[in-house]
Amino acid sequence: MSAPLLEVADLAVTLPVEGERRTVLHDVSLAIGPGEALGLVGESGSGKSMTARAVARLLPGGAAVTGSIRFDGTDVTALRGGELRAYRRSVAMVFQDPRAHVNPVRRIGDFLTEGLRLRGVARAEAARRAVAALADVGIPDGERRLRQYPHELSGGLLQRVMIAAALLAEPRLVLADEPTTALDVTTQSEVMAIIDELRRERGLALLFITHDLDLAAAVCDRIAVMYAGAIVEERAAAVLHDDPLHPYSAALAAARPAVDRTLPRLAAVRGRLVSAFEAPAGCAFAPRCAHAQDRCAAELPPLRPLDGGAVRCARAEELRGRLAPQEVAGG
């Protein structure tokens, strides 16, 4: 890979909660090159959104960050003022919850053209580009939509507006936090095709957070799996589903319902999910892992290279090939 555009190393984030500091991310390292797409999947609450927010420098107040986040060679954790604004212009974020990130009393048109107007684009031209961007994400009657308010749009339409806004900014890196969860599969296919196209044409780098392993496999080059604030596996997208190295990745693949057959019961991972701050000393997944041994609870192994990817499991070599999805028992 050429020099990565985004390089996150040993990222850890703590947040103040009721007077104590709580770890939400404790060891995240990843790299994305220009034109490359990295998928980020994992447990709800494992810190996927926090990772994206840390990169976008949008962490909640009081967050303390260690480790480094480099964009195009510069450390962005220390940027201030004008530099920070310039950086943010080259990074666009599509939020998981569009309704919380759009002002409900302003029209869609104002929201979409605001950034362009700030960059000195004339009003009529900005509106024209906004309509074109809406058409790009599958909304043909853009003029009408520009005059509407957020509450008049369905969840899927609003999410597409957010994607259009992100693309209008002509960023170099897109942080997409479950951008298609609110879309029907046909529109999802279309929106992903557009992002894919831009990625290839403009060398856009993409961090793609999703719960859909199949979708991630189809649009990403590599996939990173998160659990309790840390990355536990990173693999080429094509092999993760069928040949997972980490028991948690295997469990994820097994838990997914199938569209072509009805299962009597889904293979939910047994036990309760843990947040990063309450994770035990050893491997955070050990209490729920069917393959855990005593040593798993004792020490947390680092993320180490294996089979062209990387994994954080003490028994990865022994378990190689034994974690195919169908073998994981339901809990």
Partner: protein, 282 residues
């Protein structure tokens, strides 16, 4: 970012918070003191605030009379302490009345939407176009000049400001799904507004209330200055600024200055505290 930098930002943030707290505590102390004086004022006054003795006219500070005397030879300190009551009570009443009416109008407009919203908006626009002082003149013409006429006039004048600012916040909150969830749970509109909607716009309500208190105090003083509010000889800071003007012309500004200073200090303290509270809630 290096570990060092983390420590640095953490420390400077803590320092900022602490500084904010010191200011907040000082402001809170000043306000508490003003309230205490407003309650106990006449009891604290070392002399009868209305006992005049023309021999003492404009006499400066002497033993037992640390601020000296006014144009009629009344003890200034005693008058300041006694005057705190109406000076604090007036703006408080305005804030309570205007906030109550404004919140009610804003929440009703946001909840009902449609024509109710439009009608309330029009009423507020009409009220908005009357200057407060003009209303006060009208009120004193109708009810005769008094503190209460001025309070009612100002409450009416301020209501549309409050309603307008809070309405957009309430509309935003009304559109949230947790409100819809409460509706589906079968809670009544009043309960939903009281338990969910109003608490979620509370930071804005607090900020508005403190801002309003400052405006009301200054405006009430101005109305008293014009002779339409509290009537002399009753002690009141606004009245004192006004009656002190005779002294100012003759080179004895103590009365106006002392009363004016009390007004400014309280207004600034309330506004700073309101700002801090608003920030903390966010």
């Amino acid at each position: 970012m290096s570990a060092d930098a983390v420590v640095r930002t953490a420390r400077s943030r803590r320092a900022r918070l602490a500084a904010g707290d010191v200011v907040a505590w000082i402001c809170g102390g000043i306000i508490a003191l003003a309230v205490l004086v407003a309650i106990l004022g006449p009891l604290l006054a070392p002399h009868d605030p209305n006992a005049a003795d023309l021999n003492d006219q404009f006499v400066g500070p002497v033993a037992g009379h640390p601020l000296g005397f006014d144009a009629q030879g009344r003890d200034l300190l005693s008058r300041l302490l006694a005057g705190a009551r109406t000076s604090m009570l007036g703006p408080t009443a305005v804030v309570v009345l205007a906030m109550a009416a404004g919140v009610l109008a804003a929440v009703t407009a946001a909840w009902r939407g449609g024509w109710v919203d439009a009608a309330l908006g029009t009423v507020m626009d009409v009220l908005f176009s009357f200057p407060g002082i003009l209303l006060a003149i009208l009120a004193s013409a109708v009810f005769g000049p008094s503190l209460w006429a001025a309070v009612i006039a100002l409450s009416i004048a301020y209501t549309p400001y409050v309603a307008r600012v809070l309405r957009s916040a309430a509309v935003r909150e009304r559109a949230q799904e947790y409100i819809a969830a409460a509706e589906v749970q079968g809670a009544s509109a009043v309960a939903i507004c009281a338990r969910h909607l109003v608490p979620n716009v509370a930071p804005l309500i607090v900020a508005q209330a403190t801002l309003l208190f400052g405006y009301a105090m200054v405006d009430l003083a101005a109305i008293s200055f014009l002779g339409l509010g509290v009537q002399p000889p009753q002690a009141d800071w606004g009245v004192m600024v006004s009656t002190g003007k005779a002294g100012v012309l003759q080179g004895y500004p103590a009365e106006s200055l002392a009363a004016g200073l009390c007004i400014v200090v309280v207004v600034v303290a309330v506004n700073l505290l309101g700002e801090r509270l608003g920030e903390r809630r966010r």
